[in-house]
Amino acid sequence: MPASQLIDLLWEGMLETLYMTLWSAALAYLIGLPMGVLMVVTDREGLRPMKRLNAALGAFVNLARSIPFLILLIAVIPLTRAIVGRIVGSTATIVPLTLSAAPFIARLVESSLKEVDAGMVLAARAMGATPAQIIRKVLLTEARPSLLLGAAIAVTTILGYSAMAGFVGGGGLGDIAIRYGFYRYQRDTMLWTVALLVIVVQLFQEAGARAARRIDKRI
């Protein structure tokens, strides 16, 4: 394949991959962030301990996280068809990606928020802060650097899964790798694709770590 054509192909694949990954990440945070907060709040040591709800959430998250991604992808095909109208291509892939990332993100958020020093929460309670104020102004704010690091992990994980989805017609770089590299024996196209995936993952991870360090006021 001529170089210019390869570059166009890879460029398009990368845009598709980013499109899937970032939309899935955003939607998964819409579900996973409140879930993570709820898990922390209803914890035995939380602001509003609720044993049953907390146990149910934990069990649900574990269950959802133990389903292999490719099985989830196939299992949600009816849902994907209902929402997107089709089951192949990058937009369709957003549905299973979001569903598989949300519980993972809930756990990431939970662990970030649990790192916040209990003394700060106690001080805020002593000042008459309501639970909602504590969530917004203490937990989420104090955990910001850790949440950002978690987001970098979430995005790179979703990116990896999106490549997997590519193998079954999900679009993006993974799709290109399988179509050209595997079915058409264009070994170098596949290698370039994989190299590009590696670079994008590195970039996201590094950018997340840098941003986390920059906003962290604990030095």
Binding site: L122, A123, A126, M127, G128, A129, Q133, E142, K217
Partner: protein, 283 residues
Amino acid sequence: MGVILELRGLSKRFGQGESVLEDVSLKIGEGEIFGLIGKSGAGKSTLARCVSYLEEPTAGGVVFAGREMGALSRGELYEARRSMGMVFQQFNLLMQRSVIGNVCFPMEISGWKRRAARERALKLLETVGLSDKADAYPSTLSGGQRQRVAIARAIALSPRILLCDEATSALDPETTRGILALLRELNQNMGITILVITHEMLVVESICHRVAILDRSRVVEVGDVREVFDHPKTEAAKALVAGDGQPDRARKLLRAVEAYRDKAGLAGISAEEVLRRAGIPID
């Protein structure tokens, strides 16, 4: 003297464990500096938390400013807590907020306008001697400076009482003296009632008017500081006075040096420095 805070037969146990507080009754008068002293594990921090119902007492109750805390609705409880300031051993500042952001926090959560809150915060920082640190972050401050920020934050809403739980226990002696002087100043200038919780006798001796001794979940002695420390009645009180690590004579000497220092217009200079200047070797 009106009573601002009263504990009535307060008891607390966690789950099925042993009682951490057992039938504690105390009256704290408006405008006084009241000490609560006891060994580690005696239940002091638990008592501090029960006062503002951060922990729910198992039995008995708390009357604050004439109102039964246990009878308050959630909203009223948040309101009541806003008129109690609290200061902790570990400062518990918000590390991602600047100094002024920390001082503004209580005003922010009780609906103050941003401008008004910042103005008041700047005045408070002046009061605690940290005007130049408004935009610094807590991680760049020393322990003593952090505690000053925490105190500014605790008095931001002009509380009726300030609860200090081991406020100086993480600080060196020199810094401790500074913080204690600040507390005394707040008490004298603003008339704010202070409950000083500590395991250190020196803290109680230097600023408290009255003291209660908490020993294994119970208050065993209450009275004027001099009376309790000079004529301890219970075993617990005697042990505290004897085992303070500062033998009586040394403590008297230190007090004498400090009195001399203040009279000689050397306030702000450490006792060690006074002795050094007088040519008296210490080791």
